[in-house]
């Protein structure tokens, strides 16, 4: 007997067909896995925007009191063996006079008496992110007048106009008075100096104006009724969106979804990141990736050009090459710790001592911020760019370089005019991989600048407009944070899924842009080679 060989059992043709089917099976599994991930994220993410009907529910509390409320039932029926024996239960969020701004509750199925559609009930979303489920009755206007519900839109416009007036006064008058006062403080002007007194008077005057307008605003209210008959007043100024989910047709629902998506993309998070939008996180993510790309591309390309074109072919160079490849395998948290220890504390701390010593001990640069985060990510993605660029440089035909030299070009001119353009698709491949890697990292970012909630964007109207020293919000961190919120609070869980979907879209869009750019470069420089 010789060695075991498949030829003893299978014909060549059988062998081939088995190999092909096994390979196809594996490839198919891959596609299925990818589709599952995308479907789950998409479905759960879009769930955040889909309007849920408001229902009228009668149920009994464990102490025996009966309640009749408007509520939104979460789709997930929890079969909570742990919390209530083996019985199914409902999880819903309701509003009543005791908890007007909503309360989540888990009620066993036998305690629920009646569930019915409540078409007249509205889902009222407030500016602070909370929701009220109640039935709008009428509008209360200034001087005790009352208005028809039909005039809702009209009255809202009036309210919005007053709100804008207040904001204008705040921004244009009060803010400038504040700034001048702060500068007086800085120069240590006497407490009773005339300039100071004049500013105080100004401040008082504009403050009064704001108070007058706010009092005026408070007179506009929406009168609503809970399911048990008690009335509840909501200031119109507080209301963000009002909808009747029970009365909506498909188009109406899609409109709500559209408005929800827009709000999600443009609003700031509310209620400790369980409601509202993710604009600061989206902005922070994209900004961080852009700054990182700007930092890593020239650095990585220069390093690769040196390694490939200039470095002598000796042991040191090959050691450097091995180090670069190994850098790609270092766990990302290590880079986070490095960024914190080196960039933030050492570099940032020294910059503070040298340039911002008057602000110490409060750190200016010696604190986590978007610039340090971008720099850390640049270090993390550097090996990817170097390796891909070198690959691109390797593909430049020797003949072209000789051709350039033969026309009198120096080495630098040859690299600049001939080698780099031809290696540019390779460079773009590196940038694509770097973007994909950087967009997905969370752990190192949390050490060097990404926070759960940042009061300010890293970009505003104040000089120098782009504040790279500020901390920033990041979609990945938001998702990480969202995963720790209450599992029963389905809405905040789906906020996490929606953020996840958005992160996927961001990475996808950035990648597509880079791929399109690479294709154009390929077409321009590599056609015919």
């Amino acid at each position: 007997m010789g060695k075991w060989s498949p030829r003893q059992f299978l014909s060549n043709r059988q062998q081939q067909s088995y190999v092909i089917s096994l390979g196809a099976f594996c490839a198919g599994l891959l596609v299925v896995a990818l589709a599952c991930v995308l479907m789950l994220i998409t479905i759960r993410g879009l769930d955040y925007f889909w309007p849920r009907p408001v229902q009228s529910i009668q149920f009994e509390l464990p102490d025996g009191t009966a309640k009749q409320v408007y509520a939104q039932i979460n789709e997930r029926h929890i079969n909570s063996a742990v919390e209530s024996g083996s019985e199914p239960a409902f999880v819903f969020r309701y509003s009543d006079s005791q908890h007007p701004y909503g309360r989540s509750l888990l009620v066993e199925a036998h305690a629920v008496e009646v569930i019915s559609e409540a078409q007249q009930a509205a889902d009222i979303l407030l500016h602070n992110g909370t929701r009220v489920f109640s039935e709008p009755l009428s509008i209360r206007l200034p001087e005790g007048q009352s208005g028809e519900l039909a005039k809702y839109e009209e009255v809202r416009d009036t309210v919005t106009a007053i709100r804008e007036q207040i904001e204008t006064v705040r921004k244009e008058r009060l803010a400038s008075v504040h700034r001048e006062l702060a500068s007086l403080d800085l120069r240590q002007v006497e407490k009773d100096a005339p300039a100071r007194l004049r500013l105080y008077a100004d401040f008082e005057r504009w403050q009064q104006e704001v108070l007058r307008l706010e009092a005026q605003l408070a007179d506009y209210q929406l009168v609503t009724r809970f399911n048990n008959g008690s009335e509840f007043l909501i200031p119109l100024d507080d209301i963000d969106r009002l909808s009747y989910p029970g009365q909506l047709d498909w188009f109406g629902k899609l409109g709500i979804v559209g408005a929800g998506v827009v709000a999600f993309l443009t609003d700031a998070p509310k209620q400790a990141n369980t409601a509202g939008g993710v604009f600061p996180a989206l902005f922070g993510t994209v900004l961080m990736i852009f700054v990182m790309t700007i930092l890593v591309t020239p650095f990585g390309v220069l390093a690769a050009v040196y390694l490939h074109e200039y470095a002598p072919d000796n042991h040191l160079t090959s050691v450097i090459r091995i180090c670069v490849s190994n850098m790609a395998g270092v766990p990302s948290i290590v880079y986070g710790v490095f960024g914190l220890g080196f960039f933030v504390y050492l570099v940032g701390g020294n910059i503070d001592e040298l340039f911002f010593s008057d602000a110490l001990p409060a750190p200016t640069m010696g604190t986590p911020g978007v610039f340090w985060a971008s720099l850390t990510m640049a270090i993390l993605t550097l090996p990817v760019v170097i390796v891909a660029t070198e690959e691109g440089l390797r593909r430049v035909p020797e003949g072209l370089k000789s051709g350039s030299y033969a026309l009198g070009a120096t080495k630098f001119e040859t690299i600049w005019h001939t080698v780099l353009p031809m290696a540019s698709p390779g460079i773009m491949t590196g940038v694509i991989l770097a973007i994909a890697r950087a967009a997905g990292e969370v752990a190192p970012l949390m050490l060097v600048g990404a926070v759960k909630f940042a009061p300010n964007l890293p970009f505003d109207g104040e000089f120098p407009y782009l504040h790279l020293d500020r901390q920033f919000m990041h979609l990945g961190v938001l998702i990480y944070d969202g995963a720790f919120h209450s599992q029963t609070d389905v809405r905040s869980a789906s906020l996490m899924f929606a953020s996840c979907l958005l992160l996927l879209v961001v990475v996808f869009v950035l990648n597509v842009l880079a791929v399109i750019l690479r294709r154009r470069l390929r077409k321009r420089y590599l056609r015919g080679y």
């Binding site: 035909p397 072209l400 000789s402 051709g403 033969a406 026309l407 009198g408 353009p421 056609r527 015919g528």
Partner: protein
């Protein structure tokens, strides 16, 4: 008899300086420990076509690369001896290679147009010299392409990518690229070995035309080509110059046995 009038014979050994384009004196070249060229001494006449023939690895490409110092690009190359072009030894240390290489153009075996438009390809060397005026560039491109016998074929598509041209057109474009710098010497390193016979013929006709403007040195494996186009031929064997004379003599009445063996195909 007629042929003698056509090709006025020069005495290569005692070529006067005014008629010498390149004078090589005791040129030795080695890569590390490997000696490639031994004591080559020769004078290449102006406005003539000189062919270098010999087996693969005999050093003819290395010799031609000495004339514009392309061997400098190879890490461990050491060149000794003198090469005098335009009255100066180009092997000296402070020779400006950019200027030298614009005076001594070179065309390689495989056409190597840059991945840019035809126009930009021809301008490449001029732009490196800092010429930016559009008029000047336009004129130079047109002149170079006419000289390279390519103008009529590409004048309507100057701004298309050069890589869309055919192999023969690409090779002529590469010649035009070198001609744009108005070189006094043109080095052709097996310029037709990657081309079909018809295209080869076009390039050969072009060479005959070009020798009015500049000196041409061509490396070739093709004996017929050498006898067809060149005025003078040098035969190299294992890094040594075996025989160097006018082509008619070399191909009909070679002095050395080695030369005869090679041109009659007994080896190589």
């Amino acid at each position: 008899m007629l042929k003698l009038f056509e090709r006025e014979q020069l005495n290569l050994a005692k070529l006067p300086e005014a008629q010498t384009a390149i004078e090589v004196r005791d040129l030795c070249l080695r890569f590390g420990d490997k000696h490639v060229l031994h004591n080559i001494t020769m004078r290449i006449p102006k406005n003539r076509i000189t062919a270098l023939i010999g087996q693969s690895g005999c050093g003819k490409s290395t010799l031609i690369s000495c004339f514009n110092r392309m061997n400098d690009l190879i890490d461990n190359s050491v060149t000794e001896g003198e090469i005098i072009i335009d009255g100066r030894n180009i092997n000296r240390k402070k020779e400006n290679l950019s200027i030298l290489r614009s005076q001594v153009g070179m065309v390689f075996q495989r056409p190597n147009p840059f991945p840019m438009s035809i126009y930009d390809n021809v301008c490449y060397g001029l732009r490196l010299q800092g010429i930016k005026q559009r008029r000047q560039l336009d004129d130079a491109v047109e002149r170079a392409l006419i000289e390279a016998a390519l103008w009529d074929e590409v004048k309507d598509r100057l701004f298309e990518s050069a890589t869309t041209l055919s192999g023969g057109q690409q090779q002529r474009l590469v010649i035009a690229r070198a001609l744009a710098l108005k070189p006094s010497i043109l080095l052709l390193d097996e310029p037709t070995s990657a081309l079909d016979p018809l295209t080869t013929l076009i390039i050969e006709e072009l060479m005959a035309e070009l020798k009015k403007r500049c000196t041409i040195v061509i490396v070739t494996h093709n004996m017929q080509q050498a006898s067809r186009v060149s005025d003078y031929t040098a035969f190299l064997h294992q890094g040594e110059l075996v025989e160097y004379s006018d082509s008619d003599t070399l191909f009909t009445l070679p002095e050395k046995k080695q030369t005869e063996d090679y041109i009659t195909g007994r080896y190589g």
